[in-house]
């Protein structure tokens, strides 16, 4: 028995007869009992990885095990070991919350009495008992995600795959979901989480890999990734782009972290936000350049990407097409 909950060795997945390489030689080890983050923009290959690990999709190359079972050779054992929930919140809209959970429980081949009791308990735990007998078409986005997650938990799997569980959710629903995930990990569940949000990965995941164009471009703890980035991003708005460019050489001296000018906005990653801001203002004022706006913010995935790859995370979306029209359509729906 392996010590890793999930192991992937040189996983490759191509689409359209090899034209699209969604995953290119991805290897990772997910330790048992932790949240492991798969961070990357849309089209980076996160969802493809989850689909391979949950036996929905076969890898074109490489191998992977989940809970010690090979995803290609022992798919039924893998399916018994996992729960899957994600951004599409695939609940049956015409069934009630309870009926959805019961269906998934029965399809997990659990004893009927257990399924009924467990479904009721999960609905209660996730604050959905008031809507248990309502058709899920009437559920809000946050309720749907919670139900989707509950469905993944009916069979109490040791390993949970969460594919962008909070994408598109309002802040309160995100917080709720995060609390639930933390509770699960405390209970011993291993979670493989994909996300586009650095703050989400930061809050939940111990270890992270960053995916771009189907390849791992960075890995480590979230603290390690952040240290690479700098703790804060200082964004200064100038009257014109020319002013921003004029300020660039002075501000570059302040930090060894990346600096970026887009239009009239200059962004620079710094370690000590407030102190560096004061320095920056002094320097620019001395040069007689006017600053019209200034913000300090936490670095985002976008900043990490800019730092690691030299391109913004959003740029990737346009050039990486999803594997099929059907998925594209679903993406558009969310």
């Amino acid at each position: 028995m392996s010590t890793w909950a999930v192991e992937a060795h040189h996983v490759v997945r191509t689409f359209n007869d090899g034209d699209v390489r969604a995953l290119n030689d991805v290897s990772l080890n997910v330790p048992t009992g932790e949240v492991f983050g798969l961070l990357g923009p849309n089209g980076s290959g996160k969802t493809t990885m989850v689909r391979i690990l949950s036996t929905i999709l076969a890898p074109s190359g490489g191998s992977a095990t989940v809970n010690g079972f090979d995803v290609v050779k022992q798919p039924q054992q893998v399916r018994k070991s996992i729960g899957l929930a994600g951004q599409y919140a695939t609940v049956d809209e015409n069934l009630t919350g309870f009926e959805n959970l019961r269906m998934v429980g029965m399809l997990n081949h659990l004893n009927k009495a257990y399924v009924v009791a467990k479904s009721r308990q999960l609905l209660e735990d996730f604050g959905l008992d008031f809507a248990a007998n309502r058709i899920t078409k009437t559920y809000s986005g946050g309720m749907r995600r919670r139900l989707d997650l509950a469905a993944a938990l009916v069979a109490s799997p040791p390993i949970l795959f969460l594919d962008e569980p909070t994408t598109g959710l309002d802040p309160q629903s995100r917080q709720d979901l995060w609390a639930i995930i933390e509770g699960l990990v405390e209970g011993g569940t291993t979670v493989l989480l994909t996300t586009q949000y650095l703050d989400e990965a930061d809050r939940l995941a111990k270890q992270l890999v960053v995916l771009d164009h189907g390849q791992i471009i960075a890995q480590g703890t979230s603290a390690e990734l952040k240290a690479q980035m700098g703790a804060t991003v200082l964004a200064m708005t100038f009257a014109t782009q020319a002013d921003a460019e004029r300020a660039r050489p002075f501000l570059e001296r302040l930090s060894d972290k990346p600096l970026n000018v887009e239009g009239s906005v200059l962004e620079i990653s710094v370690d000590r936000g407030p102190a560096t801001t004061a320095d920056a203002l002094r320097l620019i004022d001395a040069e007689g350049i006017a600053v019209s706006g200034l913000t300090l913010r936490e670095p985002s995935l976008d900043d990490v990407f800019l730092n690691l790859t030299g391109h913004r995370a959003e740029d990737v979306v346009a050039e990486t097409s999803p594997p099929s029209g059907r998925r594209a359509k679903r993406k558009a729906r969310t």
Partner: protein, 264 residues
């Protein structure tokens, strides 16, 4: 936690049956929740009954003279076949919504999504059968074959439509969405249902069309159903219809299952 034991002692086979029933139950619940689909699948054949019974019947000549008795068994067969289009639409929608993905990540029997779907659609066909029989009786349909023969004819129709629905299942899995599935199926079933003995005797058709119209499976089924319901012997059409059904099932079920394995 005070929960019963999650473990179950059922065999693999019993679980496969349970999976099929779980999926069929889920589909039937959806049907009840969205009754519009069912209502429409009943209104359409009623319109056909009224149209042919009262508008076209004057210009259609049938051997025994009583067109309503010729018509209703035909409409029933047509409705079963049109109803099975729902198999394609339902599967295409499940795929589109990502439900099939969820099912594929569950340790359930691979066959269950398709078998559950075709079975729940057969239940819908039973409902339609009962309603249209009632409508038929109301407009003067008088089957003379007796209750047992009527039940036999009904079973034959349901069986034939069930076998065919595996082909529609395949189309539902291949089509990019539900609308496309419908668009693919219509040109396939239109010639089969209208160039057949469903509405008019094939003898009234041009000579070049008759060999096709006489021997294609839907005509054979319609002839067999009509023969049973009216108490008229009709060569070997019952056996031929059963043979078509079995053949279709043997060909289409593996095709669909294979497609399901690959569908994403």
């Amino acid at each position: 936690m005070n929960l019963p034991s999650p473990l179950s002692t059922h065999s693999t086979f019993r679980w496969a049956v349970s999976d099929v029933l779980t999926i069929a139950r889920r589909n039937l619940l959806s049907l009840i929740r969205v009754p519009v689909t069912v209502v429409f699948s009943i209104i359409q054949p009623i319109m056909f009954v009224v149209l042919f019974r009262y508008v076209f019947s004057g210009v259609i000549n049938v051997p025994n003279g009583d067109y309503v008795n010729y018509l209703i068994p035909g409409i029933l067969v047509q409705t079963m076949i049109f109803g099975s289009v729902g198999t394609a639409i339902g599967l295409a929608e499940d795929l589109q919504k990502g439900l099939i993905e969820r099912f594929r990540a569950l340790p359930m029997a691979r066959l269950a999504v398709l078998a559950g779907r075709t079975i729940s659609d057969m239940f819908r066909n039973i409902l339609v059968l009962v309603v249209i029989t009632g409508v038929g009786l109301a407009v003067g349909f008088r089957p003379g074959g007796g209750a047992l023969a009527y039940a036999g004819a009904s079973l034959l129709m349901l069986f034939f439509a069930y076998c065919l629905s595996w082909g529609f299942a395949f189309i539902g899995l291949v089509a990019p969405n539900a609308e496309a599935a419908q668009a693919i199926i219509f040109p396939l079933i239109f010639p089969l249902t209208f160039a057949s003995s469903i509405f008019v005797p094939t003898l009234s058709m041009p000579g070049w069309l008759q060999p096709f119209a006489n021997n294609q499976p839907i005509s054979q089924t319609a002839d067999a159903v009509r023969g049973l319901m009216l108490g008229q012997t009709h060569d070997h059409s019952t056996l031929i219809a059963i043979a078509w059904g079995v053949g279709a099932l043997l060909l289409l079920a593996p095709l669909s299952v294979n497609r399901y394995r690959k569908a994403t």
